[in-house]
Symmetry: C2
Subunit: 126 residues, 2 copies
Amino acid sequence: KMTDFNALAVQFTDFYYNTFDTDRSQLTALYRDHSMLSFEGAQIQGTSAIVQKLVSLPFARVKHRISTRDAQPSSPSSGGVLVMVTGELQIDDETTTQRYSQVFHLVPEGGSYYVFNDVFRLNYME
Amino acid sequence: KMTDFNALAVQFTDFYYNTFDTDRSQLTALYRDHSMLSFEGAQIQGTSAIVQKLVSLPFARVKHRISTRDAQPSSPSSGGVLVMVTGELQIDDETTTQRYSQVFHLVPEGGSYYVFNDVFRLNYME
């Protein structure tokens, strides 16, 4: 049902960015060993490599703010959900924010969901 | 193979935006009746409703320019491919461009692919 996947998108993204902004090493629970992350063009696979990448990003503090989130079922039957987020993030003591876009493909597993696909891009002005 | 889905992403997005910018009514061939489009938050399903939405957008001419494209297999086995694009578009005689983000979920069918999921958002500055 449409309400279900939209509600899941809100619940998941709230949890994801709250966890990211509090202690991003805790994101381990959301990935699996076949999960993929494309981060600013770098292609990374597997829970430990993905979380290592996120933990090693060169800032101590980050705060995400979501502007839009869109959700759709990713197939007629699999139960997967595609979520696209646009938002902005603030790093450390910087006074300006950076805009970003991120896509998650959430796959059901045992009554919950994990992240199979994760694509992150900053939206630079050119 | 990684080269395959990256090559598909380039080939598909080149074709999609060239078609959009030339005659967007021709995008009919890329959608199916269970395909979904989220366009600036509006949720639309089915080939004819999707193409009607795209054709009715309030501009005569548009030119998309891709900045980044990222691709990942959307499952270990289905053959689907997720593509995220960031770029900018120019409408009619406007001298400024607008940045956008778009996600396509491409599903294999008879040696080619169609668009099952399509999510489009402009990236407004706030």
